[in-house]
Amino acid sequence: MAAVPPIPLPAKTPFWNDPDVRAILFQIIALVAVVAFGMYLFHNTQVNLRQRGIASGFGFLSSLSGFGIIQSLIPYSETSTYGRVFWVGLLNTLLVSALGIIFATLIGFIIGIARLSKNWLVARLATVYIEIFRNIPLLLQLFFWYFAVLRAMPSPKQSLQLGHIAYLNIRGLYLPRPLFEPVFWLAPLALLAAIIGSVFLARWARRRQEATGQTFPTFFASLGLIVGLPLLIFFLAGSPLHWEYPELQGFNFRGGLIVIPELASIVAALSIYTAAFIAEIVRAGIQAVSHGQTEAAYSLGLRPGQTLRLVVIPQSLRVIIPPLTNQYLNLTKNSSLAAAIAYPDLVSVFSGTVLNQTGQAIEVIALTMAVYLTISLTISLLMNWYNRRMALVER
């Protein structure tokens, strides 16, 4: 009987042909290459800076700025530091973004719903609005508002005025400035208390409805609470609030609160432009909820308002929120165009003037980019959190 020849074992694959080893190997090579490239860039920059005797580091942030800024939300003067300039610019950017987001959302929702209106004229007007503002470059719109519209305003001496309270001229809109007395803090405290109270009221109303089916007019009750309570406290404390009115002195108005035309232009341009996109998102969101849902709600006996509020909108929000986040991010990043019309945002005062006065381009630009990245990521996080709350919970 012949011996069974042993089955030859397959030759061991050499390690360079082993897919697992290869995968890891290539990843290591890629990582090393990226890190080496980064190190080379860093090293090269440092060598060149040293060779040309250009100062580097962030020490400049604590030196004196020596220039004026037209609008700042925090106290600022020529004797403040470059670091302070950074915060002034950042707050101005955030102000524009926040105002822009609020107005864009409001206009966007109104136009979006108007586009679905059964009224032919309203629907067509909304379409025209969207098509015009969506298709003209933002920078041109900005110039239009700033150079064409707001430049037609009268000079300070011929200001349009509303009694002796508000004045409007080419230098801006002058409003009375509120002056708070020490006891005024009671009013915002009351507002806070009213808001917390409304939240509990809403919870209680929902529990009651779930248990007994009885509804409670939560909205009006909360509104009354939020408006009424602070007002009540305010008058009980003896109206601790005075107004400082603007007055024409020499060249300009002095005192009061001023909205500069640069701010008005950039907010108008950003919100009107972005609102056109938001309107389309809202329309798409509402149309994405099938009509059967509405019919089903009607057949359950819900009224049209309730149908919209309880059935259609919660479902359309799921479609609306992700692209809405994108628009918010775009708006924030577009706010850097403010530099073109002399609005003192971060790009204008910090990566413009400060960069020029100090010559430290790398540090200044890096800091500015880091700020925009942080703002964008924060908006993204907030909106994602909201989206998760709104998302369909599968049970």
Partner: protein
């Protein structure tokens, strides 16, 4: 611009061999630092910080300027001291911004700054009444006034609030290039000093004055010291002219600006323009 042409004439023997890159006040330093341009010849003020921490070398002053104010005649302002509370238009990224705040602070006055990127935008803002005053170097103010739609409604105030020596600048680290730009400028001033201009150039070659002979390369090897041909200065004056010719052509009597020489006259005529000898 003519400074760059002069450098090209010295270097290549051809004043057209220069590439111009238009930059705003904000972009200019980064462009020079990064090597996008080799020499920045613009209305840049020579300051300590720029000469040291920003890594530049200023060559020689081309124009002695000072900051002033351009206002609408309707305001009835006669002096800078009457500007308390005014709204002022400025160009971003300039020494002007700093001088302005120093001036108002020193005189205990208040102002509202509006900072534009481009000088045209600030001129438009002045015209529309967005600001009361436009501030910049005086030479610039004259240039902008001419461009306004109604130049006669505006007036440059007599106050000069700062020293603004305008000079071309180069990067640290290339001394030969620094020398070359510097001496091309000196050649322009020396030419005027010696009475050499683009018209009498060839006649002057026959001159017996040793200074003129050295300048035109008839005698000596001065071009070699710079690493150039001995005709370097001849080429400059031939193709670009001397300092006086450049001045009159661009901003003086032969131009719409009609700025007087003033501080920028030769030292021998009571001005500040003075160049070391070519020797």
């Amino acid at each position: 611009m003519d400074v760059c042409r002069a450098v090209a004439a010295a270097l290549f023997g051809d004043a057209t061999k220069v590439k111009f890159t238009p930059l705003t006040a904000k972009e200019r330093f980064t462009a020079l630092q990064s090597g996008e341009i080799d020499v920045l010849s613009r209305n840049t003020t020579w300051t300590l910080n720029r000469d040291t921490a920003q890594g530049f070398n200023f060559t020689a002053v081309t124009y002695y300027d000072g900051q002033g104010f351009l206002v609408n005649k309707k305001l009835g302002v006669k002096s800078g001291k009457e500007l308390d509370g005014a709204t002022v238009c400025i160009q971003a990224g300039t020494t002007t911004e700093l001088n302005l705040s120093d001036y108002f602070r020193a005189n205990k006055m208040k102002y509202t700054p509006i900072t534009y990127d481009k000088s045209d935008e600030s001129a438009k803002a002045l015209e529309s009444g967005r600001c009361d005053v436009l501030t910049s170097d005086q030479s610039q103010l004259y240039a902008q006034r001419v461009k306004l739609s109604k130049p006669d409604d505006f007036v440059v105030l007599p106050d000069v609030i700062s020293k603004e020596p305008l000079a071309p600048l180069v990067r640290h680290g290339d001394d030969e290039w620094f020398d070359l730009v510097k001496w091309s400028q000196f050649a322009l001033v020396n030419a005027e000093d010696l009475g050499i201009n683009s018209k009498n150039l060839d006649e002057m070659k026959k001159s017996t004055n040793p200074d003129v002979k050295r300048f035109l390369g008839v005698e000596g090897d001065k071009g070699k010291d710079l690493g150039l041909s001995n005709e370097w200065a001849y080429n400059i004056v031939k193709q670009v002219g001397n300092y006086g010719e450049i001045f009159e052509r661009n901003i003086g009597q032969d131009s719409p600006l009609k700025i007087a020489r003033g501080l920028n006259a030769l030292w021998s005529k009571g001005g500040l323009q003075y160049a070391p000898p070519i020797r």
